[in-house]
Amino acid sequence: MKYEEIVHRCFRCGYCKLTGDYADFNCPSYRKFRFETYAPGGRMWLIRAWLNDEIQNSERFQEILFSCATCANCVEQCVFTFSDDLVNIFIAAREEMVNRGVIPPVVRDYLKNIYSNGNPYKEPAGERGKWSEGTPIEAYDGQEYLFYVGCVGSYDERGKKIARAVGNLLTKAGVSLGILGSREGCDGNEVRALGEAGLFQFLAEQNIALFKELGVKKIITLDPHAFNAFKKDYPGLGGEFEICHYTQMLASLIQSQKLPLTEYKARVTYHDPCYLGRHNGEYEAPRKVLGSIPGVELIEMDQSRQNAFCCGGGGGNFFTDILGGGEDSPSRVRVRQALDTGAQVIAVACPQCAKMLDDAIKAEELEDTLEVLDVAEIVTRALS
């Protein structure tokens, strides 16, 4: 297994599961399950035990490994020099499990669906661009930007609304962009996170070849997960493109007055997506957008930015739901944290976070108190 030579170095001191100020537990799977085995230190020790044949692969071992949301809180808080590799180690262990063919059925089904359908929803590729019907968004044909939407933005009802909001704003601001529609392929970020390195490479190479064939130079992503894959993993496979997340684009467009805003009065708290924040260090752009809307009162949650608590959808859990369910599910914990601020709106910048938190608000019966809106949806409400 990759990283096998460092997996014994965990001291299981537990800094990895806390926030930076120690105010709370911040590892989503530990917070839900509460056995030490579900914390990063537990995973490290169990991976080593598994590699040494001291424990066997089992349903519980799989749950422990695949409930990691790859949110990178452990990477942020671990005090050791190998901290940067913690999530990579967990993914490497999943990779080893995939290679040995012993993974949870929900993970297997997700991977099979991507392999055979190109998306986890088992929908035809022809449906992929349907979200853009009725909008002025065009097919990609050499425009300055490719607007990459991804599986959730293309097929999920909530995701489609957000894709439309973003697409409309960008075209309204005069950004030259196009979409791939039925030619778009899965970015593979979750495939990689779930340990199917071969399938990820296949998807990435396919996408890179298509982007190159079409002459794509610049990409705007809807989903921070795609943003992460394009930015961090594609260059190693020959895919060098200029990548930005749509919130970065919106921040720039608002600053240059290309999106004139009027008032939208609301108390808003912003939920940092792990793959935009901790994984890629972008905390400011979404806040700049929200901060520039007259009437928006931005209130931070206690756990924000580097200490943001994951919605529980990362690392493939959005699709597998291994980490979901019950009042200690991360999304419900996060909604309660948002409620504590007195906000009316939870602003998100990721279609996966939007869906996770929407469902959590229903589970918490807070529909009359809290609303989840994507940053683009809030900007849309403030457009003159």
Binding site: R12, T19, A23, F35, E36, T37, I55, V79
Partner: protein
Amino acid sequence: MKDVTLSLAEVVGEKYVSSQPEEAYFYARDPGLMPAHKPDYVVLPKTVEEIQRIVRLANKEKIPIVPMGAGMSLSGLVIPLKGGIVIDMKRMNKIIEVNEKARYVIVEGGTSHGLLKAYLEKRYPRLRHSIPDSPATATIAANVMIHGQGRLSQQYGFNSDMVAGLEIVLPSGDICKIGSCSLSPEWFSKGAPLPDLSGLFLGWFGATGIISKVALKLYPKKRMRDVEIFVTDREDLVPDIIYELTHTEMVEDINIFAQPLPMIFKDNHHIVICVTGDTDEELEFKKKMIFDALDRFIKSKDGGFMSVAPAMKETFLEMPQKSASTFADVTKGGGFEYSGPIIVVERYPECARKLEELATRYALKYNVTARVIGRGHSMMFAFSFTFNRADRDMMDRTKEALHEASEYALASGGVFWKPTIDEQRMAIERMDPNTRNLIKMIKKDLDPNGIMNPGNWEVNVDEI
């Protein structure tokens, strides 16, 4: 007998009990060198009532119970030597009450030091507690149970001296309150003016009861903290330097470290002096008093204050000090352990020399760490070695070096702090026979079925 897993699930809920191999593996060991012993069950209670029901069940079925905080003692105190139920206390982490004017806090038994620190910083910025340099996950109850030390130990003694009250689940399952809280709603004293019953529980590693609530004394938090480091290459002078420092009554905390690497540290003994103040004038006055107190060592060229770079200063002022954990990776190996006897300060020089000798002989990386407790009444001296978890030979050498350090510490008048089972055995054998009998009597009377963390503080050595 009904299936124990089912019975435990009826108490805490199915998802908070496990008899699975994964939990059995992890909870069988801690980061130190003690051999693993698997628990049969791990359970995560949320309330004191749940603990009571677990204990009653265990008593009825005669199943051992091991209460566990963060499991950071390094000396295996929460390894279930005889199997049974590990009670992971960390779901019980509420801060129940802060009495600001009486300066105490009441917390549940699984509350971590980190959580209390964050809570006080946010809500009571003029109050603080004695935070140890163990990881921030270390729990307050377990820390006082092992007589831990922290940032205020130079002024106020062991962290267990700062306990202001306890709620204990006895081996019978009954709840017992210890201290003023036994007859008053206020938790201001663990003993005086009553008979101090806290001694029946503090230092026993859960062998006489489970701490479900603990009240801890809080102390004034000054607005400013600073650190100075006095360096001497004459270890024989360290006790005198400490004597002068403690005489000033100006110091928050005194720690000493010595290590061979980096090379500029070699043969030096670094006395880390923390001071606090509410104003620049107060801080400067204290520093001047400290400087004057050590003036004779400077004049004789036996020592001096080193300049402390900002990054280094930050490291020493950090609470808890994370570098105490990162020592575990000095050999890129994930482990360290220390024998940490409490000794009189005069023993520092010989212990420092012994540690260096052991490290050389066993070819190990080492670190001297010592913390002054009280006004020099004693100090914790850590014979500390780091090891690589992937190197069996190094782990064996570390074990041997630690055993030798323990024997040395005991022979030179030291008393073990959070002793391993080996050290407990050595201590029991050497102990005054009447004291030993008293321990046996107390344990037998409180826990006739011997279910509470069995193996620990067993007077019959063959039972360990």
